[in-house]
């Protein structure tokens, strides 16, 4: 056989093997992470995790109830503040600003914010809220999360509204519908599933965010729903427990990590299912 063919085929085989190896290498690491998460997390998972408060140092009973409640409250508030603002901004970009220079700038800045380090956002909210209010608070934590939510929702809303065929808008306008009605009654309805997907993805993103909460919400060992005081939350509790010397705290950290991962993955899958429906339609 022609030596050139032999060489070309050999190179191809080597590369093929390397790609297989890369895939195996990557999947093995990721599999190991999920495995140790399940293994260590399930070991500590029981009913008291959801009913008891985070334990003081040294105690070997207790749960994560206050942290779970705090996380739910803060994520919910973060979404409640961030999602409508993101939705509006995305609407402007897609519906009014399609050919506007300003929209190009905003789109670009939004993309930068989308991947800006979350710890910077924590510093920003610290300066904006924590210092003027005179202390760490659950409200500051929720605002930090809202700042993370906004760019995600802006991006998905804009993309989804772009997918709505213009003929729909034209038909509605031809019937005499004012512009804002066309957007709200026609475009939003057509893009509803996609917009919801974006909000779910944003929820998944903030559910595990830790860095921006370290010095906005801080954490709280006790049951508290007071937003003007430090509010317990899962990520910061995990952060504190991981670095502690107590075996029970470490166990709780694993369990908390399992809960967060489970929540994030379910949200992601839910988003995918809803998003899949729109594309099929």
């Amino acid at each position: 056989m022609n030596p050139i063919y032999v060489r070309r085929r050999r190179v191809d085989t080597v590369i093929r093997l390397l790609c297989w190896a890369a895939a195996l290498f990557g999947l093995v690491w990721l599999g190991m992470i999920l495995f140790s998460l399940l293994w260590n997390g399930l070991a500590g998972l029981n009913f008291s995790v959801f009913t008891e408060m985070t334990p003081p140092p040294g105690q070997t009973t207790g749960g994560l109830a206050n942290a779970i409640a705090g996380s739910l409250i803060m994520s919910f508030l973060g979404i409640a503040i961030g999602a409508p603002l993101g939705l509006m901004a995305g609407t402007w970009l897609a519906e009014y600003g399609r050919h506007d220079k300003l929209a190009t700038v905003i789109r670009f800045i939004n993309d930068i914010l989308l991947s800006a380090p979350s710890i910077i956002i924590g510093l920003f909210i610290y300066g904006l809220v924590v210092v003027p209010m005179g202390g760490f608070s659950g409200f500051a934590g929720a605002l930090a999360l809202a700042v993370i939510v906004i760019p995600v929702v802006v991006r998905t809303t804009e993309n989804m509204l772009h997918l709505v065929p213009n003929t729909l808008r034209e038909a509605a306008s031809a019937l005499g519908m004012p512009r804002s009605f066309v957007i709200r009654r026609i475009a939003f309805r057509a893009a509803r599933a996609g917009i919801l997907t974006g909000i779910l993805l944003a929820t998944a993103r903030v559910a595990g965010e830790t860095a921006p909460l370290l010095f906005t919400s801080l954490s709280n060992q006790f049951w508290s729903l007071d937003l003007t005081n430090p509010l317990a939350n899962l990520p910061v509790t995990i952060n504190n427990f991981v670095q502690s010397p107590y075996a029970y705290w470490k166990q709780l950290a694993w369990t908390g990590a399992l809960l967060i991962t489970f929540a994030v993955l379910s949200l992601n899958i839910a988003a995918r299912l809803i998003g899949g429906e729109t594309t099929r339609k």
Partner: protein, 333 residues
């Protein structure tokens, strides 16, 4: 929802006065909706501006106290009396080094997986593996961090590092980077966790970009007898080069600013030691571990670190986005 919601008039049923009122209601609703959306859009700009302004204000005392020395000083002694000494050299070194090592590992492997998924993978496995990788890109970084702390760190310190120190560590020059003693908390461990964290991200972006190559181009290359690797090297990669580089830069931006994946495992040492197995710190790790208990000048110094990180990632992300935009334009043509 709006002012005029309840009175959408049906033609012919309304008197002329009602019509005029309804119309002006529409105009008002239209205007207020427009301005609500426009102000929200401007809020995005305001957030970026707010971040810069608040960081600069917070960092001002430190800028005044240390000036440019901040960038060249290695010593970090915020509690020193009477005048504290703070320098960013250690964290900057740690940030750049961990990101560099992470990219050296994650880019080839991530691109390899992407090529695997688009060209070599059996069709049945393609969707499940792609889905698994996309889901893993969403796992919060604190999970990677605690796994690195509890599982990977001990293993590296007991098995991998002694091996590297014994073999590569005895070589001249190169050996200095791999000098002992092994440690559970080190720059290398942090970099490895970072690389595992950005791996699914690089793969996901690269796969999306590879999927933009028109099948006709690839089929044409296969048609003239190219092997799969030749198609990848001569068609797929040239066609997507800008997008791939953009995706890699995006991952770099993420690695530079990542906090939770490195904080547990890096050791928080501001002193620069030659070896990658020595403890170090990164900008974000330093902020995460010291900020909540800091005050006055110490805090201002940490905010100044944050400002440096912001400009660093801002630069990288801007370059990345500009490249990805270029690709989009090409697709649109």
């Amino acid at each position: 929802m709006s002012l005029a919601e309840g009175r959408v008039p049906l033609a012919g049923t309304a008197s002329s006065g009602d019509k005029a009122a309804a119309l002006s209601g529409f105009v008002r609703a239209d205007k207020s909706f427009y301005w609500m959306t426009r102000l929200s859009a401007l809020l995005v700009l305001a957030i970026l501006g707010g971040i810069i302004v608040s960081l600069v204000i917070g960092a001002f005392p430190a800028m005044k106290a240390f000036g440019l020395d901040f960038l060249t000083t290695q010593r970090w002694a915020p509690q020193l009396e009477p005048t504290p000494v703070m320098g960013a050299l250690g964290p900057i070194y740690g940030t750049l080094l961990t990101s560099l090592i992470a990219m050296l590992i994650a880019v080839p492997v991530g691109l390899g997986i992407a090529v695997f998924l688009t060209e070599f993978c059996p069709i049945v496995l393609r969707r499940p593996i792609a889905l698994a990788i996309e889901l893993l890109a969403g796992v919060p970084s604190i999970i990677y961090g605690m796994w690195g702390f509890f599982v990977l760190g001990p293993w590296l310190a007991e098995k991998f590092q002694p091996f590297m120190i014994a073999t590569v560590g005895s070589l001249p020059i190169l050996g200095d980077f791999f000098a002992g003693p092994p440690s559970q908390l080190s720059l290398f461990n942090a970099a490895l966790v970072l690389s595992i964290m950005i791996l699914p991200f690089i793969t996901a972006v690269a796969k999306d970009v590879f999927d933009t190559v028109p099948p006709v181009l690839k089929e044409a290359a296969y048609g003239v007898g190219c092997t799969t690797w030749e198609v990848v090297r001569n068609v797929v990669i040239p066609y997507t080069r800008v997008g791939v580089i953009g995706g890699v830069m995006l991952a770099l931006g993420r690695a530079l600013g990542e906090t939770m994946a490195v904080t547990f495992i890096i050791g928080n040492a501001f002193k620069i030691q030659g070896s990658i197995f020595a403890p170090g710190t990164t900008i974000s790790a330093a902020i995460a571990s010291e900020f909540a208990e800091s005050s006055d000048l110490h805090q201002s110094g940490l905010i100044l670190l944050g400002l440096l990180l912001f400009f660093l990632t801002f630069g990288v992300l801007t370059a990345a986005r500009l490249m990805l935009l270029q690709l989009e334009k090409k697709q649109g043509r």
